[in-house]
Amino acid sequence: MSDKEALFSKKNIGLLTNPLNSDNPITVQVLGICSALAVTAQLKPAIVMAISVTAVLAFANVIISLLRNTIPNRIRIIVQLVVIAALVILVDQVLKAFVYDVSKQLSVFVGLIITNCILMGRLEAFALGNKPWPSLLDGIGNGAGYGMILVIIGFFRELLGSGSLFGYKLIPESWYIANGGFYSNNGMMILPPMALITVGVIIWVQRSKNRKLIED
């Protein structure tokens, strides 16, 4: 067992933390944009989506990694899809049973986790060639990187678009123009285009901080 790597070696920690910054699935790999636009009008569904994707990604990575030496090469994509689809249906069923209102809000987007490019991308690029433990870390890391961006977008969209966070009003009622004030919610923030612009701003901020990401 002497050649065994420590559980939290530098390389393994990197698997967990790189996706948060220099290898972020949304802002650097530009995967999973579709769902990032769709579920971020409010903070709560954004967080539930982040948790769901992280759970599905981590489990799918581990399962595929465990099976990696048995999967017939010709049907490996199908096997990956079946594993993802089964996990997503499980998540959907659990949400419907225990957090019904959130499940209604996420509606079809839970089902669309299946087509989230981050999942297939990580399974094909990482889990098929690595052991279960690093695959688990990679799954959690990428899920967290995806979730982090979702939460940031959800925060700004709900705050500026609805004047609330987690459904609690933060902007005093008396500020609104309707009540004789000066303030009005920005309706654009509710719509998907502003989410894309928010993603753009995040990418801009990230690249100005992290010069390595700038391509020539």
Binding site: I71, P72, Q93, K96
Partner: protein, 231 residues
């Protein structure tokens, strides 16, 4: 065994599919009661919303059992039928001819007066729309209304689910002065209709608005005999 042989691939795929199917059906079977409960609670919330009671998922059941004092099924002739009004599947009923339909009625006690709650089910632009309308005991004046939809366009057709749109129905009447059934007109700005039968349509949501008008007309129309009998 050769991982690339046809036999291996075939067996692998078969075993995988059977395993996954078993796991999923086990999960679906065990979570079913919880899911059914959620759907039931939501329905109760909707019914209560039509008599202007805002119930949360936690207290809907309790308020429902206090406020909804009676429920039954009638047919288009106004005769009472056997069965549980709560479990009537409106989608199936709508496919039948009007005279064969089971029409649920819920009676709600508000401050001693009875309001009659009637379910609606119709078609919007992209998918089904549904709702509940409550009428006063004069069987003419609308006491409250609530609508919901599956996938109408946000900001346009989906506005039927907003309070502002639904508030318009309060106090409108569904019979004209001669006692003839008039229903409610969801009117665009160029349409004229008596003010007591008219609500404003949603700008940009014409097809949903008109679908809603048809739904109200068809589904309340089926209760004509019931209304006349009670009056």
């Amino acid at each position: 065994m050769d991982r690339n042989s046809n036999v291996y691939t075939f067996i692998y795929a078969s075993v995988m599919v059977i395993l996954v199917a078993a796991i999923l059906s086990f999960a679906a079977f065990n979570l079913k009661p919880y899911q059914a409960k959620n759907v039931e609670i939501e329905k109760k919330q909707n019914i209560l919303a039509s008599v202007n009671i805002a119930a949360t998922a936690a207290d809907a059941e309790q308020i429902y059992s206090e406020k909804i004092v009676n429920s039954y099924i009638v047919n288009a002739k106004g005769e009472t039928l056997e069965g549980d009004a709560f479990t009537v599947d409106l989608k199936k009923e709508r496919a039948k001819k009007v005279e064969d339909r089971q029409l649920p009625v819920f009676e709600c006690n508000i401050d001693g007066g009875i309001k009659y709650i009637l379910p609606l089910y119709g078609a919007g632009l992209w998918g089904p729309i549904w709702g509940y309308i409550s009428v006063e005991s004069d069987m003419n004046t609308i006491y409250g209304a609530t609508f919901d939809h599956q996938g109408e366009t946000p900001g346009l057709g989906a506005e039927i689910a907003t309070k502002a749109f639904q508030e318009q129905f309060k106090g409108k009447t569904i019979f004209d002065e001669d006692g003839k059934f008039y229903s409610i007109v969801v009117a665009k700005s160029n349409e004229t209709a008596p003010a007591e039968h008219k609500v404003d349509a949603i700008s940009g949501g014409t097809i949903t608005s008109k679908g809603l008008q048809t739904m109200v007309e068809d589904d309340l129309g089926a209760y004509k005999a019931f209304f006349n009998q009670k009056n």
